[in-house]
Symmetry: C2
Subunit: 429 residues, 2 copies
């Protein structure tokens, strides 16, 4: 990966989150500004990541990866921050995963060499771009998914049109009835795999893929059954000798909620050739304050041995806002809205508060404070009549589902435990 910060260039002066009087600024210069969130140096709303949590979370996942002997291709769609990608690769991750060709392009522009598009590759301009990159850079190692013969034909046509000089690596995707993409039956998957095989040497079948995390109400048994379905697909394709000889058969699944089950079940696959498990959690690095708190409680409940891996992942993300109005004694309105914080799984969770100009540190939010709704630029919060909050106070919120908060910010400040700004991350959505 090339020098990330140098490639990003300055943060434009019209970027949301930059102090209103700041000119455009180089990323490397931000740490030296001496900005402190509690001092009011940053505008609000503002998005911050706690450095101590980022480090803790990366260490935990590295320990998991090493103990289980898997490779990891963290999903870059979550943060779309090349600076975090660099951190993840440096920590030992094997590749980055992306969900779209736009995300792929961002990774390529920062020099990433090994990328999994955990999605179908569709569209003439998109397919031509991938083949052009494959032809241009022999070190580019790329994988994408197929789940239909029609999709295989689009890719095969693209290979004919572009002649990249080497095959496009694909994984056949298994899915579940009522779910998203992916072949519902082993037979359908084998049919797709045969179409890939017949497209050799334009395409190469390199493994089997699935995403188990769509239904957060699914039982652990249902998740294990689904991974078992992927294993059956792999074994069937292996039995028909459909996999390419280029390397081990990749078995890939694993969002941020069930990766322990994924590793467990994939480990039981018995193929005639070597296999390699690749998990793809995107949210472990920042965690959140609701959805993944629940997911990790479940994970530690069913896999208590993971408690030995070190301090467990915790929320790195906070969005801070000002109290702008307390129009009723039981109601507070804050300067944060739908455009600043996730609202697709749970509403933001108030964590702590601080009165500008006061000494000390933020205080935990007392019981009884509850976000009841968001407008585009406002938060509605119900508070007890004796809530200490008044106009001008600062409130920190945790969020639920990192992906849909990250995409609302071009910059995230990295802060130390005293709310000093020590770095800034640029995102590319």
């Amino acid at each position: 990966m090339s020098d990330v910060v140098e490639n990003i260039g300055p943060i434009g002066e019209l970027t949301k989150g930059l102090p209103p009087s700041s000119p455009s600024i180089d990323i490397a210069a931000v740490a030296g500004k001496g900005w402190n969130l509690l001092r009011g140096d940053l505008p609000m709303p503002v998005a911050v990541l706690r450095q101590s949590a980022l480090e803790r979370n990366e260490a935990w996942m590295s320990a998991f990866r090493e103990r289980s002997g898997i490779l990891m291709a963290p999903h870059g769609k979550t943060t779309m921050s090349p600076q975090l990608f660099a951190r993840q690769l440096k920590a030992g991750c094997w590749a980055m995963t992306v969900g779209t060709v736009h995300q792929l392009r961002v990774c390529r522009s920062f020099g990433l060499k090994r990328i999994v598009l955990a999605n179908q590759l569709i569209g003439r301009a998109e397919i031509d771009y991938v083949f052009s990159e494959l032809g241009r850079d022999r070190d580019f190692e790329f994988y994408c998914l197929v789940d239909s013969v029609a999709g295989v034909e689009l890719l095969s046509d693209g290979a004919r049109r572009n002649s990249p000089g080497r095959p496009l690596n694909v994984l056949v995707e298994g899915g579940i009835a009522g779910g998203r993409t992916g072949c519902r039956t082993v037979e359908e998957a084998v049919e797709v795999a045969q179409a890939v095989h017949a497209s050799s040497p334009r395409l190469a079948l390199r493994g089997v893929e699935g995403f188990e995390g769509l239904d957060t109400t699914a039982s652990d048994e249902a998740i294990a059954d689904f991974i078992g379905h992927l294993v059956q697909i792999a074994e069937a394709c292996d039995g028909k000798n459909l996999f390419s000889d280029d390397g081990p058969v990749l078995l890939s699944a694993g969002g941020s909620a069930y990766f322990d089950i994924v590793v467990d079940v994939f480990s039981r696959a018995r193929l005639s050739r070597p296999t390699q498990i690749v998990t793809r959690s995107g949210c472990y690095i920042t965690m959140d304050s609701a959805m993944y708190v629940r997911a990790f409680e479940r994970l530690f409940g069913r896999s208590p041995e993971l408690g030995d891996l070190g301090p467990s992942p915790e929320a790195a993300i906070e969005i801070w806002a000002y109290v702008q109005s307390r129009p009723e004694s039981a109601k507070v309105i804050l300067t944060m809205g739908k455009r600043d914080a996730s609202h697709d799984v749970d509403l933001p969770v108030p964590l702590s508060w601080f009165r500008p100009g006061s000494d000390g540190e933020p205080q935990p939010i007392p019981p009884g404070h509850l976000v009841t709704g968001l407008n585009d630029q406002h938060t509605h919060m119900t508070v007890p009549a004796d809530s200490p909050l008044r106009v001008g106070d600062m409130v920190a919120f945790g969020i639920s589902h990192p992906c849909t908060t990250f995409d609302k910010w071009e910059i995230f400040y990295v802060i130390d435990d005293r709310y000093n700004v020590v770095d800034v991350l640029k995102t590319y959505f």
Copy 2:
């Protein structure tokens, strides 16, 4: 307003929506590229605005404005597109409205002179920025809201700290029980207005403001009652001579759903000095395919005379995506997700489809196609078993609530009725 396109600078090569093989490109050069959406020149998902609809909608609102003798300060938060702001001001709008200081800064950087912050102004850095702009540029005409004595004190302190040499214009905000910001009673509003008056010459009370559009299930009578509440506040403040002498008393309300009622009720205000109505619709210029279709049906139902103003506003926004999978005969998955289209009011609405490489134009989506959910990067759509859609087809979606689609895109292509790209708009969220 300065030359907008020149000030925007090139569209970066990593911008979502730019063709994957395109380098960074100047806005002025986009029209000359000969890109056509149906030909597959653009990646998908992609966001487009129909030029004919933009023109039609601006003409309709201009006719409304002229007939009713009001001033208009369209809410810029909807599109955050300085190119659209320039179009709105050129069409005769009086000012732009913003919701945050970040949005204010974007407007200022493009040279906008008259701006309404339809929100409380909170935060040391934010308040100092506004006073610095007031001191720096005598032609900058600015208004913001107050709804508490505490808020008045924060602004008054800011004026003392910054000495801009002229007063900060404020409007006292009226609200409704259970609603958002704004004084719930006339008495509270008068108390706030008195605090503003007592802060003269640092602050100047220039009018009364409210937002009536929060509850889309409210009856027309409830909306009229709320505007009546704002009139009562204005009359009470006038009776106590709290308004500044600097100009007419501004009476401002009006989102995109009830502006006819706003004008009606405000017109009946009887003050001792001149008044001026200012409405602030943000969504009229692009409309949508659900929420504002319903709002305008209600509007034309209660104010049929508005049918004479010319062709009525229609949806300009379309998001196009590829069919990437049809894993079950009744289910289609497309390359558009939560990060590309509004999902806070209604899910996207399929409008038409097109098979790349075929002749002719997009066909209307047959009955029975229904979006059932969005993931971060995917759309789930239920389709009839005989749906013509197959992998690789293009589908156009309308959206509900323009604000939460605009903020998901840095660029919107402007297209003619044959889907040729004739312009591109840059947004600043």
